[in-house]
Subunit: 430 residues, 2 copies
């Protein structure tokens, strides 16, 4: 039985994602109506520059006054694809106050201020959904929040930024350096003119915060996420990784501590074995491993960005939110009951791959090995290579606290016989 | 705000999955309560043989009278993990009539009679959820039904039976024949004493029916699914696949026809290129590719069976169904509005790999090529090998209707110069 009065949708932002949302809502209106149980109608589209509105976007719906649009009072759902903190935050909050539910693709905002937004939604009996904020079309928020609601997630490990994966994949397959690979990514449209958010790991860190919060039922903001970008990854690092049977990926890793009393969230480049499924994730694709107590290891893979994939996630949420509206119910809101604290990076246990340039004389290895022992870090393998009075040591450690590994490296830098620390990289996925 | 009166759950069946459900409901009761918003309580467990009840299952809850349990009237949710058509169907229908929602892991029943069960649920304002019926812990039903609700799915291609994947993986990695690999699977507990449901493809066909129905919003039962098992796959087939840079997998494939006016669903062994992500799915793991218009290619990977993974899926559904109960709402029910018909296997377009033993004399290749041309099937590659007056021809076709390929093979068998058809296998995933 279909309701005939349409649900009204306001769209904030009409760039790559917004215009794709508009296109699908127009061309697939009958399917959406059948799946929701009522027609949905685009009631207004707020843009900054109406002269830039794309083909296929109904001109009569376009407005520059986003505030007036979300205050109309007849809007059932607001779709926010503007991005950034403001004006998105104020517009979303205003939408809740005027009775609308919200579907957002805004990872930066949810990662910075998710708790307050969820509270505002709840106070107004509205929904806040944001599947599109993490890894584009790949279902992750809903599987973590709903499919795994009866399980205990211990770890989330993934490639959640397509730009950096494209760059690392190019470096790996062509031997190119970072700048050269970035230039190619920019030329092909995989990197933005200002690539900071991607290459410095801010984008991945926002996604890690969102995933950790949902996975562990606690509050995690982007400020809780340890973040290292990939700008310092060199062609030599990639070559070292290859010699170890590994490749380098920028990983987002969210873990429950072994004692269960805290969690960690971090983004950094890491070596992973070529046999790990994440190693074969090419170009701008994303993939996320989830380890849960009962389910075991699950992997989700797909396009992590782009107009159409992101629109797919937005519209999946739109259908869910509209169904909830019709049922007079709301979907699952924030679940932060565990109140697990987020530990700093030093508490993470991981493995390190360290390349040292050292003097080629007797006793250097013993000196270096002592430093590791003094800091309680156990060495797994050492490879020593001599060249013209200099030598290099490549050391891979066993698992140790990141803080202990950092102070080991600090102490190594103090040694006279250590000419330089050529590279340091964590080793994951084993 | 937590409701204090518990939701009451009846469990039907307490084998491998049921005892794991019981264990998690007991050990993780606080987490489940927090996530649902009310405590859940196991109110009864129906088993056939009470003397076989496992450790950790509260004896005072055990009954042999499943009918009385679902008729109690105070049960909020019935979890059905008995399997098979009857008595599961009658018990589920009775549960709906007495006000309960149902979570089921029963692929055979849902694939045979899903429409009637959904109708019974709807008539009683109840939910029917069955994530655990397809691919164990891997979220598939919910992502297809909810995450992709705003998209148009064109294809589902996957490995959905762990037993057969284990057998094929062993054949591929050790060169073993089918019987030998089956024996190993049985010894390790991957195959049941009677392996028919797995090796003849019935289990995969049930899952294909469920996935096709949800993906294409139409009714598909197991009788609509073309089914071929793997009992006829030989070590020679696997070796041929290797020579082509392929491996053999038992695939479930659900496709929308190119003209959009019908769908197909099938289960059969097929060669897929080693570069395809499904080729690297090892042992008893499952993986499913979903191709959607806007989302692109998504993959879902994980353990497809086993007590704990299946229990994870059951409990995720339990949380959802309980939340719906508390909200006085129901989740998405059957969506079959497209009413797309299911075409028979002959209408599927695919590629064939055919090995023929032929007489080693001039003109044979021309004869064979003519047969393909007569049936409108275009040849991609031919490899010819002579040996002692006999020769073999290995032919790979371009895409053609399965019916045309079948009649081509029929006509080849009639040729005097064709001594035998050594193997025929479809080629997918390209």
């Amino acid at each position: 039985m279909m309701r005939t009065r349409p649900l009204k949708v306001a769209l904030l932002g009409c760039g790559v994602v917004g215009s794709e949302v508009t296109r699908i809502m127009t061309t697939h209106a009958d399917d959406l109506a059948a799946r929701i149980g009522a027609p949905v109608e685009l009631a207004g589209i707020a843009v900054r520059r109406p002269d830039k509105v794309r083909e296929g976007v109904p001109a009569e719906l376009v407005t520059t006054d986003a505030t007036a649009l979300v205050k109309r009072g007849d809007i059932d759902v607001v779709i926010e694809v503007i991005g950034g903190i403001e004006p998105a935050r104020t517009l979303i909050t205003t939408a809740f106050e005027h009775g609308a539910s919200v579907v957002s693709a805004n990872k930066a905002l949810v990662a910075a201020d998710g708790a307050a937004l969820h509270a505002a939604a709840e106070a107004n009996g509205a929904d806040l959904y944001y599947e599109a904020a993490v890894a584009g079309a790949i279902p992750l928020v809903r599987p973590l929040r709903e499919s795994l609601a009866g399980d205990k997630v211990n770890r989330v490990l993934g490639i959640v930024n397509g730009t950096t994966n494209f760059i690392l994949d190019k470096m790996d397959s062509t031997g190119a350096g970072y700048s050269e690979a970035l230039d190619e990514a920019t030329a092909l449209g995989y990197a933005e003119a200002d690539p900071t958010a991607d290459v410095e790991g801010f984008d991945a860190a926002a996604k890690a915060a969102i995933l950790a919060g949902i996975a562990f039922h606690t509050r995690v903001t982007i400020d809780d996420v340890h973040r290292e970008g990939l700008t310092e990854v060199t062609a030599a690092d990639i070559a070292s990784a290859k010699r170890m049977g590994c490749t380098v990926k920028l990983l987002a890793i969210c873990e429950r501590a072994a004692d269960g009393a805290s969690v960690t969230a971090r983004v950094h480049p890491a070596m992973i074995p070529l046999t790990h499924p994440l190693a074969s994730v090419r170009e701008a694709y994303n993939a996320v491993f989830v380890e849960a107590e009962a389910a075991g290891q699950l992997m989700f893979y797909g396009p992590g960005a782009g107009g159409a994939p992101t629109a797919s996630a937005v519209l999946g949420d739109l259908v869910a939110v509209c169904r909830n509206k019709l049922a007079g119910a709301t979907g699952p809101g924030e679940s932060a009951y565990t109140r697990l604290p987020v530990s700093p990076m030093g508490a993470v246990t991981t493995r390190y791959h360290i390349s040292l340039d050292v003097a080629d004389k007797p006793g250097v290895l013993a000196q270096v090995a002592n430093i590791f022992a003094d800091h309680g870090v156990s060495i797994d393998t050492v490879r020593q290579q001599g060249k013209d009075g200099e030598a290099s040591l490549v050391i891979v450690t066993h698992r140790a606290a990141d803080a202990a590994l950092s102070s080991t490296v600090g102490a190594l830098r103090e040694l006279d016989t250590v000419r330089g620390v050529a590279s340091i990289m964590r080793v994951e996925g084993e």
